[in-house]
Assembly symmetry: C2
Homo-oligomer: 137 residues x 2
């Protein structure tokens, strides 16, 4: 997901172009990994110390709903990253040290349907956790 694509989506849905949204999107665009709300806040605080939690969480949730960001939960904390691969279904290896991800093309759902007659599947989560080559020492 590029910045241009993100803004196109926002404009289509009549969301306004504000300085805060620009800053948030640039931050995600420059950091290709999972980030917490607090990391976003700390980054934004450098040129806007009074930034509100309301603003951050509201925008992160909006971006996530629009498919601009993808979201996961690690250790009880929401993490966000720029949507990758233009919405093609995929999973992630996630580095527990730096948040960097590696795409996993294989989706396990193809192999499990046999077990689930009568069940209504709404979603699934497949994530691998560990250290990326940079963080492994």
């Amino acid at each position: 997901m590029t910045l241009d694509e993100a803004w196109r989506i926002l404009q289509e849905r009549q969301f306004k172009r504000t300085k805060n949204r620009e800053t948030i999107l640039e931050f995600f665009s420059d950091n290709d990994r999972y980030l917490t709300a607090m990391e976003v806040r700390n980054f934004m605080a450098s040129d806007n110390p009074g930034i509100s939690f309301d603003t951050i969480y509201r925008n992160l949730s909006t971006f996530s709903e629009l498919g601009i960001l993808e979201e996961t939960e690690l250790n009880g904390e929401r993490h966000f990253r720029m949507q990758c691969d233009h919405g093609v279904h995929h999973h992630h290896f996630i580095c527990t040290a730096c948040g960097k991800t590696q795409n996993i093309a294989h989706c396990p759902m193809e192999s499990v349907s046999v077990n689930l007659q009568g069940f209504e599947v709404e979603g699934h989560k497949f994530e691998i956790y560990g250290k990326c080559p940079v963080c492994v020492e």
Copy 2:
């Protein structure tokens, strides 16, 4: 995991047999599904209204560490259930309405190693969410 097995593990490790632990374990034994700390608390409050959060979370964490309970995180809340299948590796379908689970024998890790040279894998999570046959309407 039966009550007897749980108590055997606890006695091996010198944990004391207390009324609170009995109540907690019975609750999990009688409810074959994922439960929250709050559900445990509400159940215990019926005969012990002054039950402390400390007691509940400490015991749930202990049981989880000992492999008596298994634990997952759903919507930012820790959920616990009695360990099933005697520790054999497996995954779950989890009903988002009632917390009931269905075992998934297939583990996707067998199919992904090719992507992860140089990565140090520490763990993984594969869960399917939806409605069980009882909760589907």
